[in-house]
Amino acid sequence: MATTAKIEVRDKNPVAALQTFLAQVLEDEYVAGVLAPRHLNDNGALMPTLVTDPAMLDRVDPLAPAFPFNAAKTLVKLTNGEMVNKVAAVLKPCEIRAFVELVKLNQGNMDNALLIGVDCLGSFGNTEYLNYVKDADPIASSQEFARAALAGEESPGGTPIAKACMACEHPSAVQADLSIGLVGLDIDDHLVVSAHTARGEGLLSRLGLPDVAEAPSRAKAMAELVKKRTAFRDKMFEETNEATASVEKLARYLSGCVNCYNCRVACPVCYCKECVFVTDVFDHKPWQYLDWAGNKGMLKMPTDTVFYHLTRLAHMSTACVGCGQCSNACPNDIPVMELFRTVAARTQAAFGYEAGKSTDDAPPLSVFQEKEFSEVTGGVD
């Protein structure tokens, strides 16, 4: 059973309480720095920032409904290789799950990171977030958003959160060393922090925060939130399956694709140094284009768009954590998150695998089981 402690909130300012908590984490000297979302200036722009001086925590805002990119890849850069000191990282649950996948792929190193997850109430797309904040104080906006979202508002401030967040059934980060709880609580009174690992327990006990029992209201609210999101997700799966049920439909679905590869760049688990789609394998000769056009009387340019998405799905759908950064990055509003998540749900179910759940589960294609998929392999039992 996880140890849970209380983070007192003063002056109805939960962000300030979190800043104080992170300052304590830094002072503990178990970690040398804290990676956390921080407002760069007063226009709302927010980026994961590596903070070593507690004084610089003043603009750190773990409650911001902003998700500029998936910071799992950033944490890879901060943890891969030999390290003397650890880094604490304040991440969204989907960032933590992506990091878990990258650790399994020998990219990040869990030993060098102390993961702090925060209950995720959802985020806006990048442009929507800037519209939401406008000229207001960004931290005050975040707190307003959190209060509204906790009260069950669908579109705080009139702007809906990203569809990936609406369909996310993992609002809490149980894979983290420490997780900070908001759901089911009055965040103007107190927050909770739970330890899920031995080192999380160790740090929590050193911080000397008062223990608190897990409030029943929290479990109930969390269950309700997950239920609502799961229902949204299942409806999304159904609609996407229908919209992509044949090759023709899939081509129509992806017809806006311009091969910018933004979805691949934004994808936290697309980890190749060099994508096969930028190699000479897809460097076709001029006469080949003419031959292909000749086969059907025409050839849509750019070529290989559907092929690109299918290849990406073949490579990464078992590792997809559903963070939705692909859709966030798509310049043509193709519902790529919906497609990737729908396919990922099926490939992961086929292998009995859940991406990001645990570093103990080996990626499905890296293990051989003699008796799996007998319907495909010819029924050898």
Binding site: L105, Q288, N295, M316, S366
Partner: protein, 679 residues
Amino acid sequence: MANRIGVYVCHCGTNIAGKVDSVGVAKFASTLKNVVVGRDYKFMCSDPGQEMIIRDIKDLGLNRVVVASCSPRLHEKTFQGACQRGGLNPFLFQMTCIREHCSWVTKDFDEATEKAKHLVAAAVSRVNYHAKLYHREENVHPDVLVVGGGIAGIQASLDVAKSGHRVHLVERDASIGGHMAQFDKTFPTLDCAACISTPKMVAVSQEPNINLMTYSEVTEVSGFVGNYQVKIKRKPRYIDETKCTGCGLCMEKCPKKVLSEFEEGISMRRAVHRNSPQAVPNIPVIDAANCLKLTKDKCGNCEKFCPSGAIDYTQTETELELDVGTIVLATGYDILDPTPLKQYGFGRYPEVYTGLQFERLNNAVGPTGGKIVMKNGQPPESVAIIHCVGSRDKNYHEYCSRTCCMYALKYDHLIKDKVGHHVKIFNFYIDMRCFGKGYEEFYRRVQEEGVSFIRGRPGEITDQAQTPEEEGKLIVVSEDTLLGRRIRVPVDMVILCTAMEPRKDTAEVARIFGISQGMDGFFLEEHPKLGPVSTATDGIFLAGACQGPKDIPDAVAHASGGAAQAMALAARGKVSISPTTSWINPDICIGCKMCIGLCAYSAIEFDERRGVSVINEAMCKGCGSCAGHCPSGAAQIKHFTEKQIFNELDGLLMAVPPAPRAKEEEEPVKAEDTAEAAA
């Protein structure tokens, strides 16, 4: 500069041309991009066919060649050789299969012709992206490791040693000889097993080129063909091999008796023991689990009485490492334990024996001195021999153990010979399989000796008599399937012809040596017909019954085959390594290590300094597991690169002109015409 490709379409007599318009396919090929010449010919693999390619390479300046004919498994090497003779790197050649994959499996002539065109287009598209590759040579360590000292291992060791190469023979047991040392006579010639095997055992011990290590096991193998490093565990004998004279006094003085494994549990041995006076080496071992000195620090008789001071209770397990070039596995077989076949009452009725127990009962140096007697000391008046116990039985082993019919016939004869002609013998068989040299003749001879053969698998052996003449007997309950009648046969003794099965630790041994097991559990050969002694791992060969049930002549022949394969590598001293291995581009590899776990040949290592995976080309078999998984394409198989495969696919998907629909009755005429025209 554009490529210059020559395409050659084979008729293969009517094998291809009977279903494919080879002339039309060749014409179509000549319209493809970069194709300089497209020809058809009756038999491309013939000398004139190959000459045609060589001539065109020279006259037309071809720099790529495609042959559309049979499976590359058959003639790829032939045409690669032709290219090489023409001065072209053999990897600038591509073969496409329009026989097994096309003419033999397609009914419709036009459909087959169109398919052949697609296949040729694919090969042409692919060959554009072929690159020159070169075989690499590695040195082969001249020493050979033979694992297992049964008759197969002995034969392999002697063969290799005779060639002048050094052999390390590792035997798990305290003596070599294996199962054959337990036998009495051998079928069908009835020469005594010891008389023919002990000279070979002695030859092993006297052969200067053989380093015999008994009571030892291989624990680890690393390296690759020609360069294996082997770790060997030498178990403590507690007897100094250099001092022991084999006088046997220790065994006389040892007070501790346990059931003898060599005697198949039908008599006792001492805690210090050896299999027989003919054991090689003739040095006993002290069984640490039963020795009173080693378990309870009592007794010490053997040490007191040993005239040469060879007893050494302080010995411990040692380990040594060897370098060898090739390995011959001759680890033999186990006998199925018939206890689970409860209907036969083995272990319950004292007069039910396994075949091996009967061998010992019959053996001149066995517990009864070769007298065939029951536990009460009396000779049996009637004997039932049950064939196929655990063989040809899907509950145990589906395969036939291949030796039981013949040794059952041997028992028939020996019982008649030793106990007397009045003894009634009943063979319960499914089919008599007497396929070897002199075997059928032996069967006939035994039949004429008055032995009964009953076709049927007994359902039960019981001691519950139903009639006065069944009293005190074992009753074999069976159906005589030739008479279609249920029968009860009362006998004094029952012999079970128990199946030969894979050694209990076959899976572990397969893991150590990096080879596979077949469906039956025995080690898997490279090819059931054309590669029965080699394995999928280069430089590791099989000998004897570890590959599947074998009788002595077959095991010996198989072993000589394994020895010849090992010697071929050792004698040449070099091995050619195929260049179609994987290669991991270090600029693209991101070091996720997934390929390392997937490699079945342990051919990938991680370079910690550069953070990338690296292929050991000598160990890589080019199977493509790594390339198939690697999402970035950093791992690619040379000669099967993504570029080559994508272009092959592109060629396959190319639109080809449809073949004109031929009229049904014209089909054969057309095929013959083209074949003749080409000839």
